[in-house]
């Protein structure tokens, strides 16, 4: 219908399944740490508000975690089913890294999750707290390995090519490849921010409906502190990540900036907005600020930033998409900062919990963390094209030998299943949010109903 070949379909399938998947681990990572903090605060202060919030958010955590597990299982097999040539080429690197993720993270999460969700009456308080912390640490370790693997594909090092395939030479260099520390920090903060905005929006929704309780206030307050601390750090990390990309993947930067030419001796402008056209090799309707490109990316007024025309046509990433996905991410980052500062100002006289305009802002910003996170991943992944392993293996050489028909059928299957299953799951999460921590906890204390598999939610 759209005249897509098997490779296009494989790429769409990967983009679709991984984009859907990443939403759940991002929230899992944030909520697991949030829960550990809540339980720690409760153990220390014996303030019931923390325990109520723990029970409330652990229900949401359970639903979200389950969806992360099943959508993640798909990813673990998709490398082989859809990208067999890539797996054969680079499996000696990405395989062991994934193995470490399973060994050090997935089992840790799964092993302690049962106790965390269902073990309140079966183990002591300290042991339960320990289980919560293990789950939280598991989510962070998981992120460590998968981002190491992804970063190695972006900035490969520590290897040699033997018989046309990758062979590891120095594992330290492989794991701690040049873009890894930046990407890891950027993703960790993105996960925390996504969760904080989700928690904050949940609280704002209740406050706007007049459901003003200590639990709701605590939620909003904790979320806004998190946002206040994490947003400026995230902006600084993002800037450093950009400079790192400039060093290792200049074509990606050129495409992000929609910057085609450098005139000799002239500093590069920054294209604020425009429509990059890959065929015409220009950015249409562009609104440029002179010097600013050089200033932001080289921190100088005379050095030039890379231009797309200096790369062979077949080596250019698609600027039309990542020019905009980058701006969506960066723009939302600025809105986040605004939200954080507004919260700080309103906090002084308690208007934080009453100011309608602010609460609306917090509610509307609810999905902003996840949208920015997805936009960022689109930027870095599409920006890596046309390579799957940067400079070493082109995406066109990476796919399995499936026909377009087979790929269409499986893509349709995934689309139908993901939308029918995960939208229902997200709907259930929203319903839990609507019930709020108070009602949920009242149910909890006189809970004599059946054991609730992988959740206590109802």
């Amino acid at each position: 219908m759209f005249n897509l070949d098997a490779l296009d379909l494989a790429r769409i399938q990967f983009a679709f399944t991984v984009s859907f998947h990443i939403i759940f681990p991002a929230i899992t990572i944030g909520l697991a740490s949030f829960l550990a903090v809540l339980e720690g605060c409760w153990l220390k202060t014996h303030n019931q508000v923390y325990k109520d919030l723990y029970h409330f958010w652990s229900k949401l955590f359970a639903v979200n975690f389950g969806m992360g597990v099943v959508s993640g299982l798909v990813m673990a097999y998709e490398f082989g089913t859809n990208w067999a040539r890539f797996s054969d080429f680079a499996g000696s690197i990405t395989g062991p890294l994934l193995t470490y993720e399973v060994l050090t993270a997935f089992f840790l999460e799964a092993g302690f999750l049962g106790v965390m969700l269902f073990g309140w009456d079966r183990v002591g308080r300290r042991l339960h707290f320990f289980a919560t912390i293990m789950v939280a640490i598991g989510t962070l370790i998981s992120m460590f390995w998968i981002l190491s693997s992804n970063s190695w594909m972006q900035t490969p090092q520590g290897i040699e090519i033997v018989d046309g395939r990758v062979a590891p030479v120095d594992w330290f260099k492989i794991v701690f490849n040049p873009s890894f520390p930046y990407r890891l920090m950027h993703m960790a903060l993105a996960a925390f921010l996504s969760t904080a905005f989700f928690v904050g929006a949940s609280a704002a929704w209740h406050l706007l409906r007049g459901n003003d309780t200590p639990q709701i206030r605590k939620m909003l307050s904790m979320a806004m502190w998190m946002i206040l601390v994490a947003t400026p750090v995230q902006i600084a990390v993002g800037d450093a990540h950009g400079l790192n990309t400039l060093e290792h993947q200049p074509a990606k930067i050129a495409a992000i900036e929609g910057h085609w030419d450098n005139k000799p001796g002239e500093p590069s402008p920054l294209v604020l907005f425009g429509l990059p056209d890959m065929q015409a090799e220009t950015t249409r309707y562009s609104l440029e600020v002179p010097y600013l490109g050089s200033l932001i990316l080289t921190h100088s007024l005379d050095k030039q930033i890379p231009a797309l025309k200096s790369f062979a046509k077949e080596d250019r990433p698609n600027s039309t998409i990542i020019f905009w996905s980058f701006r969506v991410m960066a723009g939302l980052g600025m809105l986040m900062l605004l939200c954080a500062l507004a919260a700080l100002v309103l906090r002084r006289n308690g208007a934080l919990y009453r100011n309608k305009a602010f609460l609306w802002l917090a509610l509307l910003m609810g999905p902003s963390g996840l949208i920015a996170l997805l936009a960022g991943w689109f930027t870095t992944e599409i920006g890596r094209q046309p390579w799957v392993v940067y400079g070493l293996l082109r995406t066109t050489q990476a796919a399995s030998n499936h026909g377009a028909l087979q790929m269409s059928v499986t893509l349709a299957l995934f689309v139908v299943i993901y939308f029918s299953v995960f939208t229902v799951g997200i709907g259930y999460m929203m319903r839990l949010v609507r019930k709020g921590p108070n009602a949920a906890d009242a149910r909890h204390t006189d809970d004599a109903t059946a054991r609730r598999p992988l959740s206590a939610a109802d």
Binding site: V74, G91, L98, V102, L103, Q406, A450, R451, R452
Partner: protein, 338 residues
């Protein structure tokens, strides 16, 4: 690929085989439970069934991810061509596991009148995932044609009588693992119904195992050769005798209303089947033509991952055991966890 006389490929072969066996037995009873769900109509009994595995199913499924990841790291070529060859059955396995996995949670969150949707998703997901796992194993045993490091067969090679029979065999295996697991974890009506189902399931499974063995020997002369040539027939005979012993033991334990022994017997039978499979393909990892060593990643990859595996797998076993210990004992109707 040996480092100082240690053959890393063999060690990894054993680790992957161990991981997949853990998966088959542990997620086997979870999935079996989903299959048996169809036979139990009382919603409270269904709650009990789900609750017997709610705290552990996720860990059980993780063994499947370990199997995939370890294959990827230690034998990338095998990971690439096996998964490429089994594309459609594996997609259906994953689809089944998605419905099965989310049903654990969604079932209790759905409005009462919608709950049946997730009950059906649980049953359907379990059956589809199990059946196509069996189909995948059957296709694998039948051999995967590889030319120039790429899968050279057709997209529908799995749609053949032998893989489909293996799918049926695995449905019976998991159902029996599930029914005997419930003997350990439940009581009363549910337990006696499971005891009632376990007997015919055992006989049916034994019959299908015999069929699969005979069929394998009939269509694969090379595998028959491995079973019977030279002194190998003694090894095969021993396996057969042990398998008969396991079936007898299961039936006897069922008669004596033993709680744990039937499950142990079934797990033993699964282990024997697994051993038989290993003998049939050894030392190939992609039958009929690619050996462990040909598919291996460079020694530095295998060694790097092995260091972690040897330290961490024992720890995983300890806390997995601990988690089962925390949730030991029978699950009763109306039991609450908090």
């Amino acid at each position: 690929m040996a480092i100082q006389g240690i053959d890393l490929s063999i060690i990894w072969g054993v680790i992957i085989a161990f991981g997949l066996m853990m998966y088959v037995i542990m997620d086997g009873f979870d999935l079996g439970l989903g299959i048996l769900f169809a036979l139990i109509e009382d919603s409270r009994e269904r709650d009990v069934m789900m609750n017997t595995v709610a705290p552990v199913w996720d860990g059980n499924e993780t063994w499947l991810i370990l199997g995939g990841a370890a294959l990827y790291g230690a034998f990338p070529l095998a990971y690439a061509v096996i998964l490429e060859a089994l594309y459609l059955p594996l997609v259906l396995v994953l689809a089944g596991l998605i419905f099965r996995g989310v049903a654990f949670e969604f079932r209790f969150k759905a409005e009462a009148h919608r709950r049946h949707v997730w009950d059906k998703a649980f049953i359907g997901g379990s059956i589809v995932a199990t059946f196509f796992q069996g189909v995948a194993i059957g296709t694998y045993i039948s051999g995967i044609p590889v030319v120039d490091r790429q899968f050279a067969g057709g997209a529908l090679d799995w749609l053949a009588p032998f893989p489909l029979l293996c799918g049926v065999g695995l449905l019976l295996t998991y159902a029996l693992l599930g029914s005997t697991w419930l003997l350990i974890k439940t009581e009363g009506m549910l337990e006696s119904r499971m005891r009632h189902y376990s007997r015919p399931l055992t006989y049916l499974l034994a019959l299908v195992i015999v069929l699969i063995c005979a069929w394998t020997a009939w269509i694969h002369a090379d595998i028959a050769q491995r079973w019977l040539a030279g002194s190998h027939w003694m090894r095969s005979l021993l396996l057969a005798v042990l398998a008969v012993g396991a079936v007898v033991m299961i039936q006897k334990a069922l008669r004596k209303r033993h709680s744990h022994l039937p499950f142990i017997g079934v797990a033993g039978l699964v282990f024997l089947g697994y051993l038989g499979l290993a003998i049939s393909i050894w030392p190939n990892i992609v039958p009929p033509g690619i050996s462990l060593w040909q598919a291996a990643s460079p020694p530095s990859s295998q060694l790097f991952a092995l260091i972690g595996a040897l330290f961490i797998i024992p720890v995983i076993l300890v806390y997995t055991f601990w988690s089962y210990h925390v949730f030991r004992g029978k699950v009763k109707v109306g039991d609450a966890y908090h």
